[in-house]
Symmetry: C2
């Protein structure tokens, strides 16, 4: 029977979500814990293939497991076997036909930028310590251009996109809390490396090293206009997969217990 797991992890020690030879990954750690619980090999499918060093509070994965195991016991047993930097926060049975990635309606990512010169040791593993002030109004002005349907190919990692780069973005906002700025982006899906490339480009805008209108031109350029180069890729450690949305027929988003 199809089971759905809500997963949170500190990505620092992992080469990303997706299983690899010769590198520790979150998927491999979750599969090993589940195999020990279920008593046979288990394959899990994640909603988002987070890159090396990226964190998650709201990753969702599905797997096939016997229906006899109560959900509470499954989560408890898996957590007993997972390393301390990965936890399952909830589980349910979303019904036939569910796929963590293909059934997702949308995802929310958050990126934290610290403009202060020193990061406190509590937040340090989860922020990009930029150490320079940013123009919040310029960040907001530029980010507003992201909302809607656009071709994001010009901002994706080379080699990462197959097929259309057109995606719908529902929300792209910056909030400030003291010297920490958080970028929240919600959309139907994101090309590989897109959020970090967006943040790298937006930070150049916030530093007045490029114009807020550059982002709109980048998106237009992808559809055949003038070519504008995207900015650098922001560091992985500031990025968090916050939430994955699903249709009501599959129980909607899986919330932490």
């Amino acid at each position: 029977m199809i089971h759905r797991l809500l997963l949170a992890y500190r990505g620092t020690a992992y080469a990303g979500w997706q299983r690899q030879d010769n590198a520790p990954t979150v998927q491999a750690a979750v599969e090993a814990a589940l195999a020990a619980v279920v008593g046979r090999e288990v394959v899990v499918h994640g909603a988002g293939r987070t890159d090396a060093g990226v964190h998650a509070r709201g990753q969702v994965a599905h797997l096939d497991a016997p229906a006899e195991i109560p959900l509470g016991a499954l989560v408890h047993a898996v957590n007993q076997r997972l390393p301390g930097d990965i936890r399952s926060l909830a589980a349910d049975r979303p019904g036939e036909g569910f796929h963590a990635r293909f059934s997702a309606l949308g995802k929310e990512y958050r990126y934290r930028v610290l403009t202060a010169p020193v990061a406190d040791p509590i937040d340090a593993p989860f922020v990009w310590r930029l150490g320079r002030r940013l123009d919040l109004e310029a960040l907001r002005e530029a980010s507003a251009a992201l909302v809607g349907r656009h071709d994001f190919s010009a901002l994706a990692l080379a080699g990462g996109s197959h097929g259309s780069g057109i995606r719908r973005v529902d929300r792209a906002e910056w909030t400030a809390n003291g010297r920490e700025l958080t970028f929240v982006i919600v959309g139907e899906g994101f090309l590989r490396g897109l959020v970090r490339r967006l943040v790298g480009t937006l930070v150049e805008i916030g530093e007045h090293r490029r114009s807020p209108s550059d982002l709109a031109r980048l998106l237009a350029g992808a559809s055949g206009g003038d070519a504008v180069a995207a900015g650098p890729t922001a560091p992985a450690q500031g990025l968090m997969l916050q939430r994955v949305e699903y249709p009501a027929a599959f129980g909607g988003a899986l919330e932490p217990w």
Copy 2:
């Protein structure tokens, strides 16, 4: 010349702030880093003697150091020599007569309680994972009784109080964010172990294992009324020294750069 440092630390690996033989402490780590920078032995005095495992975002300490060292260079050099779980976030020169503890007007502590069954690995080191629901209204009703001047002796650690147990509390509030509850308490000073004992008692109230009026009776009992026993001490890892206030003559609170 008197210097003031703002310090943040993850308290997990330390036997508290105060220097001890044969145990790692935050004070000893800060003194060792400063000695390497200044080139002679340095004694630092902290505003709050946080217990083993307690964290800080807003600890303040003072020390005597040569005025020739620019403040930015001092903070940078100290951070280069501190372990990764302690950082100085700012420094200034508050003027003659300043003492981190005796000049303090008040302190803010925060305590985080997670009512969910599993803590995500990002927050886990900084919360008390209670795993049971609490009645927020009961917590708020009981906490309101803390504001004002009271004798807190009945809630302090045995042997920790010398002299009067009377202290002024300016704010005692609970906020909820999903399944995480945060207790914020601001006052002129707190007896040793008081905040954790208060939280332990309040959690029993939030679980309906004692009445909200018990806290008021505990405070009255300390002044000679009926004796009511305080609850258990909440775990150290949920507690954070958030902020220390000082008079405007000493520059007010030291803010992160």
